[in-house]
Symmetry: C2
């Protein structure tokens, strides 16, 4: 494909406003593009105006490589502060500006174009499944839906095109030195500003609700203090979390729980009849989400045996940890492809944030996953951008990985 | 004084709107009334439109009996639901309706009229100090101001004219049986619907603020969780409160602490940098407010030795417990006066709520206090009322107590 067409596909996608919804305009755009290139597609509706897209090429290989990206973007926040507006792509000094340039319409466009070029390559022998999802930014809902419907079951490896680079080497150094990127390598200085992730923690978000009985504070024994009961649970939970430090992952570290919100009571003179707290746990493969949730429910069931306790566990989300063996062939292939493209080593690190891969891995734990995309840390910011070169070079990296994977 | 004049004084006071402020209109009304009867007065300004009033008669006795009541009333809340309006006194079937009829313009008027009648009684040999306060309902601010200025220092006994009866015997039985009134006597059935309080708990209201450092929940170790730190304090405080059960009062029972509010965090993904809780402790004379506050501050100082802890104690109010010896002469006199007036025994019980006496007792712990006034449990309610008979009879009780006290 011509460079100019590659750039105009990305521009087209940036113009499509898919802020936390409305993703069918991206799905339809890509379907039309794939139709033109004789690639089989399937639209999978999520809800009103929200459409996932699957596109596949099948050369009869014995394994399947997945390409995945999400169609939604986060809100532009302060529209006034965008130099060119969030949905008005501008190419300035080698950068393309606009909401989603980094996260992740560049990755999505790059993977789509790779699919088209691989399909046209008569020497390519592999099977690729391209998956464009809705609602990654809020709940990974498209990936969740597709995983439940079996779309991840036959995948052997997966490239998630989320932003994995930084905009400059000093920024990368800062991120690594501050601990914001966890590095397995002791010496990051030999690497450039390009990286990919071989792992990220999962997460569990939940709420604990405690119900009691109101009373005037002069007669506390006439009531049941829901807050006191919630803190009784908090203390049990803290003891339990301490036991989890026994489990550790070489790249991701340990399970990391945080109680982030607690609210109870609104009158100084009244025993509160309700209390709730939010907890976020970052999880590792060594102690998986379902085991954790079962343990927490057991603690609650035990406390609820007391007639004065009424605690409720409400799961808000459960995103599984993603971890690819550092010594796997897929990771070796990824390293080689980066080295050939950038003539420099690329870090493979554990990322703090999550991706749709959490959902696919939950359905099929055997997928080797890398998160690799042209975007950078300008994601979610005002004046988000991607380097034009990165965008174009990632298409080369994706093709290299795919070709090597099916060699 | 004629009955009609007694009733019209109460009506006049009810018409004066002194909802949490504006008390100078009551102070000025009473000053004018006392002036007319040659009783010496002193206006003590609290703040804009807020005026305390002191009125005294001095017959050279060696002790002083105080009469006290507050000039403010609570808000009428739902004005529509008042049958005759909150500030429009109506006499219907032996009841007088209006905001403050029970709490406590009937008590205030009754004590003022008692003062006038005692002043006219050539046989009366006692010294009385009448104290009308501002802002009892919110913070007991007038009593606090007057106590600090020394107005309680020379008092030997004090009648607080707050509502101390119920509207019916069944209601009294219900209140006692539900534990809402704590009774020293094992058998309340021999008593009528009239009662007075010889004791009530004090209270301490305070806030604990915890300050930390925000961070993304994927990197909790980059922040300081203010909520976790607050709960560390909560747990220490709970251990401390458990030690207070060693102290007990025969009428008031034990120190009774309640954590009534806790708030922290507003984003699930962010380590909270602030957390706060409100605590209300009902106190007893056996472990006084200042000792408690010192203990709490010491716990905080110790925790704050950790560089990651930043806890702050904020006192919101400290009202002292009030307790008069059940075997004191003043209580015997009160019992006799009730029996002579109602031809039935009166309960003397510990009340759950507080009064201005908390402030006077803090300044002068030697005052014998009773809370005795014509009002009932309709205080603070819509269609608040007082029985006309109760209002008039309490003037007789007050006179009897004063005469017996100086016999």
């Amino acid at each position: 494909m011509e460079k100019s067409e590659k750039l105009s596909i990305l521009d087209d996608l940036i113009k499509l406003k898919t802020v936390n919804g409305n993703e069918e305009i991206v799905a339809n755009y890509l379907k039309e593009l794939f139709d033109k290139h004789d690639i089989k597609t399937e639209l999978v509706k999520n809800s009103e105006n929200r459409m996932n897209l699957i596109a596949s090429i099948n050369n009869g290989a014995d394994k399947v490589l997945g390409f995945t990206g999400h169609e939604d973007v986060v809100a532009p926040v302060n529209e006034d502060e965008w130099n060119y507006g969030p949905f008005n792509p501008k190419h300035i000094d080698g950068k393309i500006f606009g909401r989603g340039t980094s996260d992740m319409k560049s990755g999505l466009a790059g993977l789509a174009i790779t699919l088209i070029e691989l399909n046209e390559d008569k020497d390519f022998k592999g099977n690729i499944q391209f998956i464009a999802t809705v609602g990654e930014e809020i709940g990974e809902i498209g990936a969740k839906q597709l995983s439940a419907a079996g779309y991840a079951d036959h995948l052997n490896a997966l490239i998630v095109g989320e932003p994995s680079n930084t905009s400059s080497k000093p920024v990368m150094d800062k991120l690594t030195h501050s601990g914001l990127i966890q590095i397995p390598s002791p010496n990051p200085t030999e690497y450039g500003r390009h990286a990919f992730f071989c792992a990220h923690k999962g997460s569990i978000d939940y709420k604990i609700k405690s119900r009691g009985k109101a009373a005037h504070s002069s007669m506390p024994e006439a009531g049941i203090n829901a807050l006191d009961n919630l803190i009784t649970f908090y203390n049990k939970q803290k003891e339990y979390f301490a036991t989890l430090t026994a489990y550790s992952d070489d790249v991701l570290g340990k399970t990391s729980p945080s109680v982030t919100i607690m609210n109870s009571g609104d009158q100084e003179n009244t025993i509160p009849d309700f209390a709730e707290m939010n907890v976020k746990i970052r999880t590792i493969p060594e102690y998986n989400n379902d085991k954790l949730i079962d343990d927490l429910k057991e603690i609650i069931a035990k406390l609820n045996e007391s007639p004065r306790m009424s605690l409720e566990f409400e799961e808000k989300s459960s995103n599984w940890p993603v971890k690819t063996d550092m010594t796997s062939d897929f990771l070796k292939i990824a390293h080689q492809s980066y080295e050939e493209t950038f003539e420099q080593g690329a870090l493979s690190v554990g990322a703090p944030g999550g991706t749709d891969a959490s959902q696919f891995i939950k359905a099929n734990p055997d997928i080797d996953v890398i998160v690799a995309g042209p975007g950078n840390e300008s994601a979610h910011q005002v004046n988000e951008f991607v380097f034009e070169d990165d965008y174009l070079q990632y298409i080369e990296i994706y093709k290299k990985i795919a070709n090597k994977y099916f060699e």
